[in-house]
Amino acid sequence: MMDRFEKNAIVLALALLFFFFGLVVYAAKALQIEVPTCLTGVNPFQEGRVIVLDEGAKRYQVNLLARMWNFEPYEIRLPAGAKVDLYLTSRDVVHGLRINYTNVNLMAIPGTVSYARVRFDKPGVYSIVCHEYCGINHHLMAGKIIVE
């Protein structure tokens, strides 16, 4: 039905795709680079705040609330080496954010909570910009994390 070259091309393509997929699974399972999953038992919060879980171990919980057109809290201060459980939700429409130099990339959908765990080792200002269109002032919606 198919000639040799064609068969080779298909086998090669499949091998390449499985190799890539293998790397993705390796990164997820062995390196723990995971995408957010369905959280049950966490209710969407009505206000954003930073909760210190364990000052000595530098463990923090950040409840980040997105709303038209700002983040609450707008500015978050953390010490270098902070281990953060980040919860994100929206009060109104769909928003989103990505934190530079980290693997944090989350959507904020009203009624749901997205979660990511992140460690801030390097001091600096990590800016947050809303990356999903959320109305006329979308491009003014930003926040920052200051790591000292």
């Binding site: 091309a9 995408v35 957010p36 969407p44 009624g111 910009v129 990356h131 979308h138």
Partner: protein, 571 residues
């Protein structure tokens, strides 16, 4: 095949009408890159706000233009392949629905009542005319398939009981079966969630479910755009280079694999949201990798067909034959080659960046950044747009009975587009690593240290993307001159519907590859398996509260602003 009267008008207008809108869509695209580079300072230009323009740009270019050209091309291709005329009554119903729907949606967008972008995520809500318009356009596009092409195929089958399912017709049928399947979830989203919310019939809806239903439609949608281009690559392109389609069975296999794998992949647009389980996202990631397979097969078949053609033209050597292809030929129909080859070169990058997008955790680095914009301007804005522009000009010239005018410009256009989009793609991809978001009227706020958006490293890449956009638009202008010249040229021949059709080099009939039923069965089972749980999760565990409607102007629910506004009016 000759064509006249109402049918000829319908086919011609299905090309010209969306093209007129496309001129606006492309212009707005240019304004957007200029705004993001800070060259245009205001967020409103020519009376159109940035996000209003972005809604128009996405909806016209990716939904209206594509759908019309796919219907026009499929109408002509089925007619030509089966040698049977179309039914004017059916075609008029389809035409009225599509044109009427488009005008309704255009009204909503042009009056600023639908600044929701072409993905229209709720709870941002648009005027009801936008939703009804989209539904009418989509329903109209399905009418010819059910009431014209299928009956024509059955009649053809009766006359040719042993004939093989013609390859382009098989391609059109796969395209429209796919289209029909995915129109179901988006219709449910629109008719049961968005429209009732927009009209105030319900107070609130589930925005997560809406997103899941939207991407159930939204990703396979790209294969609805892509498959007609693949049909052209299989049946027309080899003929243009004087060769044959390398393998008929491989082409059929690729089309049928799209039928199986195209749909259950939508969760790869939802990797970053809570409310959906990571395991199901990984499963959709796997299927997205599988849907790359038919594109790999197509890459081989097309390259082998080009090599075969080039060798007929005296091409030699392992790679030297590439030089023998008619890149700049203006002879006969060969000008059309430039559209396909430029599109294919862009699609190479589109495929690679697409695999990155599909890669689950790697997607965290690029989701909703300018990377994604770079990606789809080399896929739908690359191969699909160029193939559709090329075939539009070709069909229009045949339908009018004229020669293509300003062929030199027509040949230059796709290469300018290629260069422009390549520059745009590189700029947008690199900018993404510095966090340049998509869908954002950034202006040049990122060079102002006082701005919350302060990111001076975006400056260079935003300007480079504007340069790329400008070159691409130059290509579009070259095309426009040729298109208008051809549209208003004096007819010299009988109007016809015809295409240059390639024979196949390897042409062994494989019955399984001409029978849609088993593939469709597997497809439906795979869709049911892959979507049952994510939809259940979107309706239950993934979400704790529903949302009222908002418009793009105010940070309070629409209902509240309406009651407050009416309370202010003295009675």
């Amino acid at each position: 095949m000759s064509i006249r009267g109402g049918l000829r008008f319908i086919l011609l207008s299905e090309i010209v009408f969306p093209f007129v809108l496309l001129i606006l869509g492309v212009t707005l695209g240019l304004l957007q890159v200029l705004q993001r580079a800070g060259i245009i300072k205001s967020t409103s230009y020519l009376g159109i706000e940035y996000y209003q323009g972005l809604t128009l740009h996405g909806t016209i270019n990716a939904i209206v233009f594509t759908t019309f050209i796919i219907v026009a091309f499929s109408n002509a291709m089925v007619m030509f392949s089966l040698k049977r005329s179309l039914k004017p009554g059916v075609q008029w119903v389809s035409w009225l629905l599509m044109v009427g729907g488009t005008l309704m949606a255009a009204y909503a967008m042009l009056t600023g009542k639908a600044n929701v972008l072409y993905t229209f995520y709720p709870p941002l809500i648009a005027h009801w005319t936008f939703y009804v318009g989209v539904v009418l356009l989509v329903v109209g596009s399905l009418v010819p398939f059910f009431f014209d092409w299928i009956p024509n195929y059955i009649a053809w089958r009766r006359e040719n009981p042993t004939g093989r399912f013609p390859l382009p017709v098989l391609g059109v049928f796969v395209t429209f079966i796919l289209w029909f399947i995915i129109v179901i979830p988006v219709s449910i989203e629109i008719l049961f969630q968005l429209l009732p919310l927009s009209l105030g019939w319900v107070e609130e809806i589930n925005p997560l479910l809406a997103r899941t239903l939207f991407w159930f439609f939204g990703h396979p949608l790209v294969y609805f755009w892509l498959l007609p281009a693949y049909i052209m690559l299989y049946s027309i392109l080899p003929k243009l280079v004087g060769g044959k389609l390398y393998s008929d069975p491989a082409a059929r296999l690729a089309l049928l694999l799209f039928l199986v794998f195209s749909v259950p992949v939508g969760l790869h647009h939802q990797y970053t949201e809570g409310g959906l389980s990571a395991g199901w996202k990984l499963w959709h990631a796997f299927l997205t990798f599988m849907v790359a397979l038919p594109s790999f097969i197509t890459a081989f078949t097309v390259a082998a067909s080009l090599e075969h053609g080039a060798r007929q033209r005296g091409g030699k050597g392992l790679f030297a034959w590439w030089a023998k292809l008619p890149y700049f030929s203006r002879e006969g129909d060969q000008w059309l080659f430039s559209y396909f080859i430029a599109g294919l070169l862009l699609f190479l990058f589109g495929g690679i960046t697409g695999i990155v997008n599909a890669s689950y955790n790697l997607n965290l680095a690029v989701h909703n950044t300018s990377w994604v914009v770079g990606h789809f301007h080399t896929t739908v804005g690359g191969l699909v747009t160029l193939a559709f522009l090329g075939i539009s000009l070709y069909m229009m010239a045949k339908l009018r009975g004229v020669e293509v005018k300003a062929k030199g410009l027509a040949v230059a256009a796709p290469y300018l587009w290629l260069i422009g989009m390549m520059v745009f793609e590189v700029a947008m991809s690199v900018a993404a690593f510095y966090g340049f978001p998509r869908r954002t009227a950034a202006g040049a706020s990122y060079i102002d240290p006082a701005s919350p958006l302060y990111h001076p490293e975006w400056y260079f890449w935003a300007h480079l993307s504007a340069g790329g956009g400008a070159i691409a638009v130059l290509g579009f202008v070259a095309y426009l001159v040729s298109f208008l010249g051809t549209l208003f040229a004096r007819p010299v021949r009988e109007p016809v519907v015809e295409f240059p059709m390639a024979e196949a080099l390897h042409d062994e009939p494989v019955p399984l590859l001409s029978n849609l039923r088993p593939w469709l069965t597997v497809s439906i089972l795979l869709i049911a398996f892959s979507y049952t749980y994510p939809i259940y999760e979107s309706m239950t565990k993934g979400i704790t509260a529903k949302s009222p409607a908002y418009n793009d102007r105010l940070p309070v629910p629409l209902k509240q602003t309406q009651t407050e506004a009416s309370a202010e009016i003295p009675r």
